[in-house]
Amino acid sequence: MTDQLSPPPAPQQLDGRWVDQDPAADRYRVRTSAYSDPAVFDLEMSRIFESTWVYVCHESEVAKAGDFKSTWLGRQPIIAARDRTGAINMMLNVCRHRGNAVCRTETGNTVIFQCPYHGWSYGLDGKLAGITDRNRYPSDLAKQIGGLVRVPRVESYRGLVFASLNPDVPELREHLGPVLPYIDHWADGSIGAEYVARTPHKFAYPGNWKFQAENSLDGYHGRFVHESGFAALAHEPGGTEVAADKHEFMAFDSKAGLTRGIPGGHGTLESPGSGLNRQIGVAKVSDRSFDDYHAALSEAYGAERALSLLGSRHVLVFPNLVLMDLNIRTITPISVDRTLVHSFFAEAQGVPAHVNNERLHDLQVRLGTTGFVGLDDLEMFGGNQTGVHARGMEWIELSRGLPTEQVNEAGEHIGAASDETPFRAFWTQWAALLESEV
């Protein structure tokens, strides 16, 4: 298994830069072509998705020996499989004979991957296990081939498995460094063991992948895009109406919230936990579930951290992972104007079943395949994609909160809950990767 992936193609000479940061003018702008130009998309695939650390799956998706998942890393078809030693292997889902996909199912359990075309077979670690009718080949061919081409780097943190097609990336922990405290904060919502990712909801939308990445941390859009969802959830059939803007679901517009732009392109949208609204994150749950979860967190972490964990924090881990309360969201770019989103309910361990059941229900009602809230977000992305193809609107504005944002000792930029602070961190990292010379 000495074969290396070929290096990414050399970029085309693209006209100019995409991110325009003018501190003197307090403006931050991004070219619309960054969302609409297929050449930019190709560059993103080679310089971001196939060169840096990218989130692939949760450990619980391949919990047992023989469990596998077939997916993409960038645009490369891969298999993630757990072997009998407990290790998670990742390799190209491409037969070394004549290139057929060795695995056509998305998830399952197996002892071996056998290519359907001529029957070559590979172990859970990708090693070549058998060549059909092998004496028609040179005798040392199996040794020369070794097995499926390995994804050179696979590491996990708090149950989240990342991979990189670039063998020279730094250690995962070093790469994630500045965002680790926020991943910990999210992961601590599960007590004594990491979350279990349940069967995902899957969405597609006709728009660029970055719209979902940005929107996850956008505290500015809620009162418009989600006026409908919030009003419907506040609606008492047969009762008197609650004005949507009075409703607790508007948590992110509260003055107490903030946004955080984190070095490395990561970011957060936060609403601190006070316990007063008796919500878990943004989820309204029964008093019983709130009290039980609060008690379990307090026992595990102490009163102060428990309160903090009851708040809501959306975390974007650059480029394709969003952690939102009990939601793991992955972003899979298909083309410049088409994206898939997988949304997993993260089941907390160490808490009563009714807490998880209520939170699962809440998540699905708001953000599921037929969600009152999430569908209106996805609708924005199609509208956005329509707009970014227009000539004459060359730049979008990402300046909100720029004049007043603070920078702390950790190098984090801190803005108000409705500021575009985390987008600027995202785009600054994006530009560092895309605008670098080869």
Partner: protein, 169 residues
């Protein structure tokens, strides 16, 4: 006992299914709500069937159903602005009378959907076909007419990424 096309129960079921399809196509959703019994369940699984505690595409009780209809009819639900037009076909209807007087129905419903507009705007004007196998449990309401105790819509495409599933199924 399996009911046949000549059976009065079968005719009653067919009338109910066709009426429901028309109400949904015409967005007469307040009337659609009244086809359900108060404890009625409206659901759609991610797997083969809705199972307690498993993630599902849809699981509405009376309250959520009414909130969903309120959202579609009385709030700016952008995923439905412009709104979808739909045409539903109901076929392959099998009806089974149960010992307790309830009626189990399994049928094929194919929903044809288009959001008004055309390809000059992303996401509009594309005809989408949503084939489903739909199961009902019907019970006589207060006046003896059959009402929906449970409606489970099993989408053919349930394991594929779905785009904007904001219409009622």
């Amino acid at each position: 006992m399996l009911s046949t096309a000549l059976d009065p129960t079968y005719a009653q079921v067919a009338t109910l299914l066709h009426r429901e399809a028309r109400l949904l196509d015409n967005l007469e959703l307040d009337q659609w709500l009244e086809l359900f019994l108060p404890h009625g369940v409206y659901c759609s699984p991610l797997g083969a069937a809705c199972v307690d505690g498993e993630p599902v595409i849809l699981l509405d009780d009376d309250r959520l159903r009414r909130q969903r209809v309120f959202r579609l009819l009385q709030t700016p639900a952008y995923a439905q602005r412009p709104a979808s037009r739909t045409v539903r076909q109901v076929s392959n209807v099998e009806v089974e009378l149960q010992a307790d007087g309830q009626v189990a129905v399994e049928c094929v419903v194919v929903i044809h959907e288009v959001r008004v507009g055309d390809e000059r705007q992303y996401g509009l004007g594309t005809l989408r076909v949503l084939p489903t196998r739909t199961r009902y449990l019907l019970s006589p309401g207060p006046d003896g007419a059959l009402l929906i105790a449970r409606k489970e819509v099993v989408l053919l495409m349930r394991e594929a990424p779905l785009e904007n599933l904001s219409i009622l199924l």
